[in-house]
């Protein structure tokens, strides 16, 4: 066994927490992270101050209430409640009990007859919405008189809803799904949301009619894997399976402007805004990509792909055996053990990115505070990699 070859392989290898991670969410100060190892369990780890180094994390709780794979987790930063949803067609709201040092679940009946695919807390944390394969989006709120969560369902979708996000005003959601459309809905609930107009009345006249389609976009021309709403509330983005990301500028008094950016590599599965002018996207490429506003005006921005976050470490490729005997030996062992064409260096054939499989979920933190300072990615390789925003030099 060539020790140098193994050294190259393990250098900078992030700790693998599970075989695959389907979803994850952080608490407000990043002292805890909740994730699902692609089964019916939710694991909560304490970072003990080492946010970037998963090998130092300590697993504190295993929550296994769900009857099937957990497909979505979201953590409300202020109320500290976790909401999870899964293939068992249920959602649970978890509240931390100090006395018992445990998380107590409350079942939320969603009235869907297919799996839930994603869940997000609203900005004020008094509602959450669940995307589902039942072609609908239940919006749940807490009814204090009965001490339980009840839901009101948004329909109008023609196929599985794959992703959703909330507008900062707590009233609207944007959804994307397998019917290849991205739609904006009103999720306004009387008694929960303030009835005063907050400025969006000019843009969406039907803003206070629950379940009403306020806007619809079809420029993805393919399954919409992920949707996101900018922190300022006037921009949207959605990513399609056709390796494209469409950016929407919402304007008062005129139709929204849509700009579709074609990406040269593989499609994205999750996108999140890092600020009003920048967005991170990750997916089948295993490498997060950053899109920024590179031109245009505030009202008509021009977006483009700027950079990929994971950069190939060119220094390590020269670390390969200095001696010709060692180099030949490495080449032989690579051919025998990996099926690499003889002569091709090991670095060219192995996966150089930090993630060794597709990235399926991103979490930006600090949650609901902008501009973001870090974001974490997780996916089918079972690793959670934390990235710093500062080195990206965003405007």
């Amino acid at each position: 066994i060539n020790a140098e070859y193994m050294g190259i392989l393990q250098k900078n290898m992030t700790e693998q927490l599970a075989n695959a991670i389907s979803c994850h969410a952080w608490n407000r100060d990043q002292s805890l992270i909740a994730l699902s190892p692609n089964n019916n369990e939710m694991h909560i780890y304490a970072t003990n101050g080492n946010v970037s180094d998963a090998s130092k994390w300590e697993r504190k709780w295993v929550l296994d209430k769900h009857g099937g794979p957990v497909s979505g987790i979201d953590w409300a930063p202020i109320t500290n409640q976790i909401v999870s949803c899964g293939h068992d067609r249920n959602a649970y709201v978890w509240r931390y009990d100090e006395k018992d040092n445990d998380w107590k679940p409350t079942l939320v009946i969603l009235r869907i007859n297919r799996a839930a695919t994603a869940v997000k807390w609203s900005p004020n944390e008094n509602k959450f919405a669940v995307a589902s394969g039942a072609k609908c989006v239940p919006v749940c709120y807490f009814e204090a008189s009965n001490d339980w969560w009840i839901c009101k369902v948004i329909k109008k979708h023609r196929s599985t809803v794959l992703s959703l996000d909330w507008c900062v005003n707590n009233k609207f959601i944007v959804t994307g799904g397998a019917d290849m459309k991205c739609r904006v809905f009103s999720a306004y609930l009387e008694g929960i949301d303030p009835s005063e107009d907050d400025g969006f009345g000019e843009v969406f006249p039907k803003q206070h009619e629950f379940g009403e389609v306020l806007a619809e976009f079809d420029s993805a021309q393919s399954w919409v894997h992920s949707v996101a709403w900018s922190p300022g509330g006037f921009r949207l983005a959605f990513a399609g399976h056709g390796s494209n990301v469409s950016f929407v500028q919402i304007l008062a008094g005129s139709t929204p402007i849509v700009q579709t950016v074609n990406f040269p590599n593989l499609p994205f599965l999750d996108i999140r805004f890092l600020s009003d002018n920048s967005l991170v996207a990750a997916g089948f490429d295993m490498n997060p990509a950053v899109f920024e506003v590179t031109g245009g005006t505030e009202a008509e921005p021009f977006w483009s792909y700027k950079q990929s976050v994971d950069k190939k470490d060119t220094a390590s490729s020269s670390q390969a055996s200095q001696s010709s005997f060692g180099a030949t030996r490495a080449a032989f062992s690579a051919t025998v053990n990996q099926g690499v064409q003889f002569g091709k260096t090991v670095e060219e054939s192995s996966i150089w990115t930090k993630h060794k499989n597709i990235i399926s979920n991103i979490f930006v933190f600090p949650p609901a505070e902008f501009p973001a300072t870090k974001f974490s990615t997780a996916g089918l390789d079972g690793r959670v990699v934390v990235w710093d925003v500062a080195p990206l030099a965003l405007k």
Binding site: S222, W223, H241, N262, P264, N265, L266
Partner: protein, 124 residues
């Protein structure tokens, strides 16, 4: 839904124009004219095949050495459309050697993303 008869008429016109541009040696214009067709709005497979044949004819008329020049002159949307019809052309089975050269040049320019956009298109 657009009128099938109108689409048919439009496609025939495009076919004629594209053929004459090919015979005059203006391969870039021939391709651009052929790409700008309404076949995706039609539900008629014959009309879609007609549009595809026109475009593949334009692609096949280009010499291998000129492919890169033409690709550099096309817009990104036109390149995506071209890739879709390269695959259609390979489905017909003729000139595959040349079509593979088109495929290589388009992939060099737009990456595997352009192949993804081809795969998700159900209307070509």
């Amino acid at each position: 839904m657009a009128d099938e008869a109108e689409i048919s008429k439009s496609l025939n016109q495009i076919n004629t124009e594209s053929s004459s541009l090919i015979s005059r040696g203006d391969f870039l214009r021939a391709l651009q004219v052929a790409l700008n067709n309404p076949a995706k709005n039609s539900k008629n497979q014959e009309l879609k095949d007609l549009a595809a044949n026109t475009i593949v004819a334009a692609l096949s008329a280009v010499k291998e050495a000129d492919i890169q020049k033409i690709i550099d002159a096309l817009s990104q949307d036109e390149r995506t459309q071209t890739m879709k019809y390269v695959y259609r052309g390979m489905g017909f089975g003729q000139n595959c050697n040349l079509l593979l050269k088109w495929h290589q040049a388009l992939t060099d320019k737009d990456g595997v993303g352009v192949i993804m956009r081809t795969l998700v298109d159900t209307k070509v």
